[in-house]
């Protein structure tokens, strides 16, 4: 059987799953629990307004929350190479300021708890693999508020979008299996 890259350890995949699961439990964030679409996207050349329109259509929420993320930094905190540290930047977009603020509060409180957050995240991922191999072990998670104020973005459609960003930092090691590199 051929290998798939999706089977390799990739921490943002698990963090996104965890964040989505948490946000979808709230009624006042603009994330639909019933929709098949996870509104967390890796950066791509597609413009934000196009993505936003698609999410509005797919979720039937008029002011949904859309998150766009990108890997910010990878660090080598010690000489012990299996210990890895990364930071991912999350941009929260919504035409509702309340949704942006609420999502910010939930994500910060959920993940800015260092090893306690890592334990919860590991437990969630282990219990929600959906047939995938949970091959990452989180050791520590922190959240930084990179921006003091919310930004406002005027879309071509003359709608106003509110933007805020968070940086999520995590320490992890890969849990090796037949798919991973040792």
């Amino acid at each position: 059987m051929g290998k798939t890259v999706a089977a390799l350890p990739y921490p943002p995949k698990w963090i996104n799953k965890y964040i989505f699961n948490e946000l979808a439990q709230y009624d006042d964030i603009g994330v639909s629990a019933v929709s098949q679409l996870t509104p967390i996207f890796a950066t791509s050349p597609t413009n934000t307004e196009e993505i936003y329109k698609n999410v509005v259509q797919a979720t039937a929420i008029s002011e949904p929350l859309v998150i766009i993320y990108d890997r910010l930094m990878t660090f080598r905190p010690s000489v012990f190479y299996p210990h890895k540290r990364e930071q991912v930047i999350y941009y929260l977009y919504s035409t509702s300021l309340a949704n942006v603020n609420n999502a910010n509060i939930v994500i910060s409180q959920l993940l800015d708890r260092e090893d306690a957050a890592a334990q919860d995240l590991n437990a969630f991922c282990a219990a929600n693999t959906n047939g995938e191999d949970f091959n990452v072990f989180f050791r520590n998670v922190k959240v930084y508020q990179a921006q003091e104020a919310r930004d406002v973005l005027d879309l071509a459609s003359a709608r106003t979008m509110f933007v805020n960003k968070l940086i999520i930092e995590y320490d992890y090691h890969a849990q090796y299996n037949e798919n991973s590199y040792k």
Binding site: Y69, M73, R76, P77, Y90, Y91, Q147, D151, K165
Partner: protein
Amino acid sequence: MRVSFDTKHFDMQMLNFLEYSTGFIEGVQKGRTLFLKHLSDGTSEGLKRYIDSNARANPQALQHVYEWYKTGSPEARLYNIDCKVIGSGISIRSTFRQSSSISKNSTKPFYDKARIMENGIPISIKPKNNSVLTFEIDGEQIFTKKEIKVPFPGGPEARGSYQKIFDEFFRLYFSQSFLKASGLFDYLENPIAYKANLVSGSQSGKSKGIQTGYNWIINAKIGVE
């Protein structure tokens, strides 16, 4: 009963230990410029990556500091970050480069694109030699003989956004997160090398201190991969 102590050896060890400690500080001082060079290289690399990531996740704000249609790509940057070690520390300066790519609405590169859009300088575009201007808006091809005034080239989000991200890096991210996450903060806070060489330092004295201090400080680097 009589007990006698040989304090000569103890005095010698104590003297060497003091010399080792003084030497360590001298070694650190000696390696300071090289340390600042490493710090400046790491900071410059971190800053570029910070700007690139932000540009990819929020292209409306930072597309003007990249070549057209390549927002966030390290190869398409229209900015330079120049980090230099000066006497007392590091000086960081940023300048803009000229764009060489051509927008689909143009036939020439936009002159001074990054600077004009960053400063929100209004521009007017006139047709040459009584010809017509043609450009595309939302998939529609427009033709006009009139002068076009663009109050915010690059969009209102572009104005001042490079300056803002630059400030944000140093004001918030650098001290809150970057130094700690990179391991540099912990390394400097805990000079293990000093302790590890204490025994040999108390025998060899100052030369060992200088060597230990110098090696310790020049190995203090920002571990960005």
